[in-house]
Subunit: 256 residues, 2 copies
Amino acid sequence: PGRVVCVANQKGGVGKTTTCVNLAAALALRGHKVLVVDVDPQANATTGLGLDYRRSSATAYDLVLGEASLDEVAVQTSIAGLSCVPASPELAGAEIELVDVEQRESRLGQGLGGAAARYEMVFLDCPPSLGLLTVNALRAADNLIVPVQCEYYALEGLGQLLETAELVRRSLQPSLRIAGFLLTMYDGRTKLAEQVAAEVRRHFGALVFDSVIPRSVRLSEAPSFGEPVVTLDPAAKGSIAYRLLASEVEGRYGLV
Amino acid sequence: PGRVVCVANQKGGVGKTTTCVNLAAALALRGHKVLVVDVDPQANATTGLGLDYRRSSATAYDLVLGEASLDEVAVQTSIAGLSCVPASPELAGAEIELVDVEQRESRLGQGLGGAAARYEMVFLDCPPSLGLLTVNALRAADNLIVPVQCEYYALEGLGQLLETAELVRRSLQPSLRIAGFLLTMYDGRTKLAEQVAAEVRRHFGALVFDSVIPRSVRLSEAPSFGEPVVTLDPAAKGSIAYRLLASEVEGRYGLV
Ligand SMILES: Nc1ncnc2c1ncn2[C@@H]1O[C@H](COP(=O)(O)OP(=O)(O)OP(=O)(O)O)[C@@H](O)[C@H]1O
Ligand SMILES: Nc1ncnc2c1ncn2[C@@H]1O[C@H](COP(=O)(O)OP(=O)(O)OP(=O)(O)O)[C@@H](O)[C@H]1O
Ligand SMILES: [Mg+2]
Ligand SMILES: [Mg+2]
């Protein structure tokens, strides 16, 4: 069956959305059937895949509140094999609306019930917080990928994230495991990036993906074209890095 | 009396903390008495000012829950005239703990009651969300500064942020006004930065600060030294930009 991968880190701007969009696209280009679920009310993954939540009658918000099924919310992107469940700003309200609801942490997981049977990989793009939406995503997943920006502040919050993931594993989702830490925005010209990368490898060893995503302007330009960089500019160093990551992920999961 | 400035944007990694730390430090260096309140459980502003929340017996968490006074939580930094109320990871729990509490949106404002009499400027560093902590900060403030990273995704969320600020202004804090939009991480070598800057100026006109913060490695290195870049390396282009911003803010507020 398919795997559900939560991409989370409460530190803001570390490359969660960029990783979801480009890793999912790179795997689709290798022939896999992939779904991206945008769990962030900012709806950046939705935009990055060329979609507009205003044109969807039902979004991740409806899925989480149990008012729409996966079939009703999943939309085909311009890339064959890649679908997306768009987010919308209403999702920000779900945190409050679900406060008194039974099993509020499991709503997304329930909505995604049939996903693992229809897709080989499902990626959940999380907002920059450890609130109810991220807990829902951790609960719905069996794997966690943590993008780590190669900057000093990005190191500080990792402990809190791992604590939250461990809480979810123990109480809600025993099969949740850490698939890996992905070093992002690595700028080889600075000592800082090397120091942060060395620190992450010292702490997490083999859990750190070999593929490292370099800082690259092309990666930050791609969202304005509504396309992942892996299709917009396949020769760009950001594209090469995400394609290498896709083949590394394939290897780790034994996807053929 | 002093002014309370909320620095907020739910988009992650746009330079909220870097702006709080360096603008506050630059104003202190110009002889003003300034306070930074770290309202983010990641506690990055606390670290960026060389403090360690583990060495504080009371933090912003205790202030918000009404269990400590401002005098008990404010700590002198290594820069004369600059104090800080440190954050701690417990702050993440406040969002849940305050759900059933009366006037939960006003707890930070109540804790900061005497701040405007003791400090000329108070800066509130917000987490990357529009949840209860950010609403508390908006409610406690009379001014809002919005850092806008010069990247495509950063444009998308501005509407939601302004909607939330307007809601707070109408229902909780009538004197809240937008002090300005600050363009950050501007990389002059890319077309994207120029396009985003032009778009922000087209929408918000004179509300956009003249000072623009360039992308600068030195700015991202400073947190690892526990010092704002304006004291660590006064000649760096990031320092010059934040000092220019400080004099522009002085002019806008008529601080002598
Ligand atoms: N490797 C990279 N090189 C250069 N820019 C990048 C890279 N990865 C991402 N970016 C840009 O940096 C910004 C932050 O990335 P992104 O939005 O993917 O992070 P995020 O963790 O999803 O943010 P948030 O916490 O707000 O959800 C975006 O403008 C994006 O285009
Ligand atoms: N002008 C700049 N040039 C280069 N790097 C910068 C600049 N401003 C901030 N940074 C770095 O970019 C990262 C994000 O900045 P910062 O942490 O201040 O953003 P934030 O909005 O407070 O993030 P969060 O949403 O997580 O609270 C940090 O590693 C910081 O050191
Ligand atoms: Mg994102
Ligand atoms: Mg911050």
